[in-house]
């Protein structure tokens, strides 16, 4: 076999034409694969049961009453107990229904309630816009609307928002404003069903710290030690 003569053009196997043909083929392959991916039939999403919300992994417990035993001064111990209770009292779950105006607040951010509502004659809303227009006996998971059989606002005399913890404390102990004796106050905090909702608020609301039982024990110990208020 002889070498090609000088007049025979040398074959350029990887020339410019080969480059563009390859590029075109790659481009075509990408288009085909892309269309296949885009047009491939997918199952339509079906409705599924709503998964139960995960149990709270961490409960922010209140300090046990025994934690305060080492405070020798009775008044100082009482104040410390109430300050611990203040973690619940000043939690949005409680404060939202103790507004300074006739309008409740809502969410952890304590923003104004939407839609616009007003306490009405009994704390259960205006006659034409009752709380029960939306709120029922229990939290509704589908809509996220919270509920309780006793759903209503605290009376305006029991407004907590805008007050210091010390002012709230004085107010709680004043039957003219709280409308409660100390026994009734303890019952309200430790056993009232609507207050208990604060630890079972449903939806994406953050529960009040601890449990109602822990809170009741703190309040009982605070009253037993004289019911002293923070300054």
């Amino acid at each position: 076999m002889s070498a090609p003569g000088p007049s025979e053009p040398r074959r350029r196997r990887f020339g410019i034409g080969f480059f563009f043909r390859t590029l075109g083929l790659i481009f075509l392959a990408v288009i085909i694969l892309g269309l296949t991916y885009l047009l491939y039939p997918r199952p339509i999403l079906q409705s599924e049961p709503i998964a139960a919300p995960p149990a709270a992994a961490h409960v922010d417990h209140l300090r046990p009453v025994s934690d305060f035993d080492n405070i020798a001064d009775l008044r100082a111990r009482s104040v410390a107990l109430f300050e611990e209770a203040g973690r619940v009292i000043q939690n949005p779950r409680c404060m939202n229904c103790h507004p300074r105006s006739d309008r409740p607040t809502q969410t952890d951010a304590m923003r104004a309630h939407t839609p616009w509502v007003s306490r009405g004659f009994d704390g259960g809303g205006e006659p034409t816009m009752r709380c029960s227009t939306c709120h029922h006996n229990e939290n509704i998971e589908a809509s996220g609307v919270p509920g309780n059989p006793l759903w209503h606002l605290a009376p305006i005399e029991m407004a907590w928002q805008g007050k210091t913890l010390g002012e709230i404390c004085e107010q709680l102990l004043d039957p003219a404003r709280s409308g409660m004796t100390r026994e009734e106050l303890l019952h309200h905090m430790a056993e009232d069903e609507l207050v208990g909702w604060a630890w079972n608020p449903g939806g994406d609301r953050t529960p009040a710290p601890g449990t109602q039982q822990e809170f009741g024990a703190i309040i009982a110990a605070w009253l037993d030690t004289g019911g002293a208020c923070p300054q």
Partner: protein, 154 residues
């Protein structure tokens, strides 16, 4: 299985008790006059009457609704309804109309409670019914018109 009373008829509904009544009305009973707006009791489009009290059907579980008499926009009736309908037509209140069945259910309930409402009464009763077309001024005027009709008829 729940038995519910809707528009003076009873229905047996085999659904989960937590199903919002709105979906029973629309998907099962095919009463589509009641609208789905938000599903979280913020807009009022799904307002119905539960023993004559306006409620949001998107947050009313079937198991709760079965204890009451339900009335929807399809069957609500009475002198207040006639007055509201006439005022709504005369004022050409709706624009897109999507919220209007809820608006009308709330307006009827308002006039049954307060036959001659003030602007403030209207604002209070209608605050939970929002309208993206912002027909609020026409709604308020039409409620005043309907109240006038009721007063004239009394």
């Amino acid at each position: 299985m729940y038995t519910i009373s809707v528009n003076s008829q009873t229905y047996d509904v085999d659904e989960d008790g937590q199903t919002p009544l709105l979906w029973v009305l629309r998907d099962i009973l095919k009463l589509t006059g009641t609208k789905y707006g938000c599903g979280i009791a913020q807009c009022g489009a799904c307002t119905i009457h539960v023993d004559d009290q306006p409620m949001r059907s998107c947050t009313l579980p079937l198991e709760v609704a079965s204890s009451y008499r339900i009335t929807t926009i399809e069957a609500v009736e009475g002198t207040e309804v006639e007055a509201v309908r006439a005022a709504w037509v005369a004022r050409d209140v709706p624009q897109c109309g999507f919220c209007q069945s809820g608006q009308i259910m709330s307006a009827v309930a308002l006039l049954r409670t307060i036959p001659a409402p003030s602007d403030s009464d209207i604002d209070t009763a209608m605050s939970g019914n929002i309208c993206r077309c912002a027909t609020y001024n026409r709604i308020r005027a039409a409620i005043h018109d309907a109240a006038g009709t009721l007063k004239g008829a009394a």
